[in-house]
């Protein structure tokens, strides 16, 4: 679980570095990192609650599993819609022939933050596993 969360943290911190360097210039990278950071955190959550992450290239199984787990355990699933938005834009941000507007790419960062906040609130064990010794 820690491995997946560390991957999510790494993507999240890299986004912040890119924002400082030049947010608009790096918008395509920020969009993609937001998606992959969220996939990594979803993997961390699923490993924590089910012992295994979702399989499948489109990652939509991960979103379905999160919704199913929340429903079965009467937890709110409000954050999953942000994750689904990100997954729904993965191919567009990665491979589409048409240019994607920077504002849309940067919206991915907002969606990632919303998904992260929901995930940490709903699964505090994922938030509280031991971190680095330095802040």
């Amino acid at each position: 679980m820690l491995h997946y969360r560390e991957r999510a943290d790494s993507f999240s911190r890299t986004i912040k570095d890119l924002e400082i360097l030049d947010r608009d210039a790096h918008a395509p990278a920020i969009g993609l990192l937001s998606i992959h950071g969220s996939i990594a955190l979803a993997d961390a959550v699923l490993v924590a609650v089910e012992g295994t992450r979702a399989k499948g290239e489109d990652h939509s199984e991960a979103a379905r599993k999160l919704r199913k787990w929340c429903s079965a355990n009467t937890f709110g699933d409000g954050g999953v819609k942000h994750f689904e938005w990100l997954l729904g834009n993965k191919n567009r941000f990665s491979y589409d022939d048409e240019r994607v507007d920077a504002s849309h790419l940067l919206l991915a960062k907002v969606k990632m933050d919303q998904f992260f906040a929901w995930a940490f609130q709903t699964f505090p064990d994922v938030a509280q596993i031991r971190e680095a010794e330095d802040a």
Binding site: K16, Q114, A117, F120, A127, E131, D134, A135
Partner: protein, 157 residues
């Protein structure tokens, strides 16, 4: 009465911590239950359920350094002092270089240092010395605090 720089620095310190943490909740003038007095800035990582970061801000380095004794008694995994860069007198500069007062020799953890920098666009804040984790497992206190106090800055829905 607080110095204008010290009040302005709260936002700069918050931005500095937001860059390092993951969707933290930020509180100004926070009544952190494990501190003897209000703390200038409290950041609770991971939307209020993660590690607590306590920051005390003073204009002058010597005033900030004087707070470390109190800060060492404050339970929080990460603790910081912040002051305006260039305000160090000779003794304070030597003490900071030697990390005097920033840790207890017999225990883990070190108080971190945040530099406040006056720029044309306003006040900025950068980490000079990273805080090291104190062995305080206070997730329950942090979670309870974030649930019962409205954050000044928070992410999420």
């Amino acid at each position: 009465m607080r110095d204008r720089i010290e009040l302005e620095a709260r936002d700069a310190v918050a931005s500095c911590l937001i860059r390092r943490l993951t969707v933290p909740r930020i509180y100004f003038e926070a009544a952190w239950p494990l501190a003897q007095t209000q703390v200038d800035v409290l950041a609770i990582d991971r939307d209020g359920v993660g590690d607590a970061h306590v920051v005390e801000i003073r204009r002058a380095a010597s005033d900030a350094l004087a707070l470390t004794t109190q800060l060492l008694k404050t339970a929080a995994p990460f603790r910081w002092i912040a002051f305006l860069r260039g305000t160090e007198d000779k003794d304070t500069a030597l003490a900071l270089t030697a990390e005097k007062g920033l840790y207890v020799a017999s225990a883990a953890g070190r108080i971190g240092i945040i530099d406040l920098v006056e720029m044309q666009s306003g006040l900025g804040a950068n980490v000079r010395l990273a805080a090291q984790r104190f062995p305080d497992a206070v997730y329950d206190v942090a979670t309870q605090f974030s649930r019962s106090n409205k954050a000044h800055i928070q992410f999420g829905e």
